[in-house]
Amino acid sequence: MNSRLSAAVHGWLLLMPAMLLLVAFTHWPAVASFIESFSSTPRPRRPSRFVGVANYEQMLADPVFWQSLANNLWFALGTIPLAIGLALLMAIWVNDRIPGRTFARMAYFTPTILPMIAVANIWLFFYTPQYGLLEQVASGLGFASHNWLGSRETALAAVALVAVWKESGFFMIFYLAALQGISPTLAEAAALEGASRWTFFRRVQFPLLMPTTLFVLINAVINAFRTVDHIIVMTRGGPDNATSLLLFYIYQVGFNFWDTSYAAALTVVLLAMLAIAALVQYGWLERKVHYR
């Protein structure tokens, strides 16, 4: 009994350093945000007090919140399938024995290594009106000038494209690892049966990659609702909130308007949505994707 107790103590002592950091910087802030979301923002003359669900009511009536939520859903809908599809395509391509395979793999992975801030600045140049890369190509081909980030219609799509460019290489690595886990004799067996490349992908590779797809999907959803860096660099939520995503709006409310309690309430909603999404994906999809 004594030795079991001391083993438990040892275990907890070993967990302690990491646990302390997690509690101090992750768990406690989460709980604190949750508590703060039910209080008013402290002002120099008015200390914080309990306000119940007032912050949440404010949210329901806040058009910018709804706009950000809608933007974020469109952003997710646009980026996730595209990034995953591209990742899969690239992974299958560089999984084959092609000349320059290592170079292609590296090239696809490079955007992942770059900091988002740097990526955003590169794309800012691409999108710049008059002398940006896109503009030069477009005008060279005789198209009219267009301010990609400056107009309501294209701004969200433009920032979404940057996210796809940045993320698909990262997801490709997971697919590549999974593809290499598939025994090459399966491909040979399928080839003997006369299965075309497409049939083999559809009937064998894709189903066997489902666990990876689920994992990537969850990551992609989280990333889509966590995007803020390149919005800050490229558009600051503009024009007219057309590219304001939830996390960016939280940042704005919290650190530009200093309405920290309202920001806390927004954070709680965001976390709740992500938790539900993850639960649905793991709980519902997982039963369909594992074969072993």
Partner: protein
């Protein structure tokens, strides 16, 4: 009439040759075993016939059609892989039907063929299971079923039994042989297990270092091995092949042909051909292994290990001296330098 012709086929991987100038034919309805130690080129030869690799030179003909340049699916073959290559996400039934679906065989025919094959291999109750829910032997059956349901005349097998335990292997090799004869399939079967080769094959092609060492029936391979390598590879325990000087001075043991210098020869005697005889060659026992039905006596003769197999138990132990003899007709003579058979 032959069903498969392999003509002067070589395969080189960036400078190193895996298969060198291999030629043989397989008669329709025969089971031919490609036998040899690992790395001898037997699996590569099979993969070349299957079309999974392309030969560097040479020609492969299956059922009268030159298939050297054809993709695997157009060669009219089925194949069983060593790892079975079952699709883990598909049920047993779907695994078996995979090829028929790809080839767009009508549903009614598909179902009929599945039922027939499942019946034949005793898989009827397992059709809805996933491969991971099956034992190794059952997975092996599914792999076999997938090859049989294709109803091709040629079936290739790449060490299909090497992942099974000894008991199951014995059963499966009988079953595969029976199926092959019942369905009149032409089969090429790769193995490194000489027992499988001896028990199953109509012909055995023994390979070594990418070349064919001997192409013979099992009986020929055992009775007249073409080289010292073939002599040692077939039979358990393997044939004793020792320098011929070890029998110098024993007139009864000398070769009947007189043209050779004894120093250039090796003599090969199968352990089961050796008998204990006071007139024989004396040798000291190194170890005696009692197996039940018989005893293996390991001795040294002319500084080389020499094993004799005697019936029952012998009352001797290491250090004792035995006298070994055999009938002259049981001796195999090989050239010592080239290892080829002389008589």
């Amino acid at each position: 009439m032959y069903s498969i012709l392999v003509e002067r086929v070589s395969k080189t991987w960036s400078g190193t040759s895996a298969v060198e100038d291999v030629s043989f034919t397989v008669k329709a309805g025969d089971l031919v075993v490609l036998l040899g130690p690992s790395g001898c080129g037997k699996s590569t030869t099979l993969r070349l016939i299957a079309g999974l690799d392309t030969p560097t030179s040479g020609r492969i003909v299956i059922a009268g059609q030159d298939v050297t340049e054809l993709p695997p699916a157009k060669r009219g073959i089925a194949m069983v892989f060593q790892s079975y290559a079952l699709f883990p996400h598909l049920s047993v039934g779907e695994n078996i039907l995979f090829g028929l679906k790809v080839r767009k065989v009508p549903r009614a025919e598909r179902d009929a063929r599945l039922a027939k094959t499942a019946e034949m291999l005793g898989l009827k109750l397992l059709l809805d299971r996933r491969p991971s829910q099956l034992s190794g032997g059952q997975q092996q059956r599914v792999a076999l079923a997938r090859a049989i349901v294709a109803e091709t005349s040629v079936c290739l097998m790449d060490e299909p039994l090497s992942n099974l335990d000894a008991q199951l292997r014995l059963e499966m090799r009988r079953e595969i042989r029976a199926l092959q004869q019942r369905l009149n399939m032409t089969m090429i079967y790769v193995t490194h297990d000489q027992v499988e080769a001896m028990t199953m094959a109509d012909r055995v092609i023994l390979m070594r270092g990418g070349r064919i060492e001997q192409n013979a029936t099992p009986a020929e391979l055992y009775d007249r091995p073409g080289s010292a390598f073939a002599a040692r590879f077939v039979g358990t325990p393997p044939m004793n092949v020792i320098p011929a000087q070890a029998v110098a001075g024993r007139d009864w043991a000398l070769p009947a042909f007189g043209t050779h210098v004894l120093g250039d020869l090796s003599i090969g005697i199968r352990p089961e051909a050796v008998r204990l005889d006071p007139a024989g060659v004396p040798a000291e026992i190194v170890a005696a292994e009692y197996l039940g039905a018989d005893t293996l006596i390991e001795t040294r003769l002319g500084n080389a290990p020499f094993v004799a197999r005697t019936a029952g138990r012998i009352g001797m132990k290491a250090g004792d001296t035995v006298h070994l003899a055999w009938s002259p007709g049981d001796a195999h003579w090989f050239d010592r330098a080239s290892e080829r058979r002389i008589a």
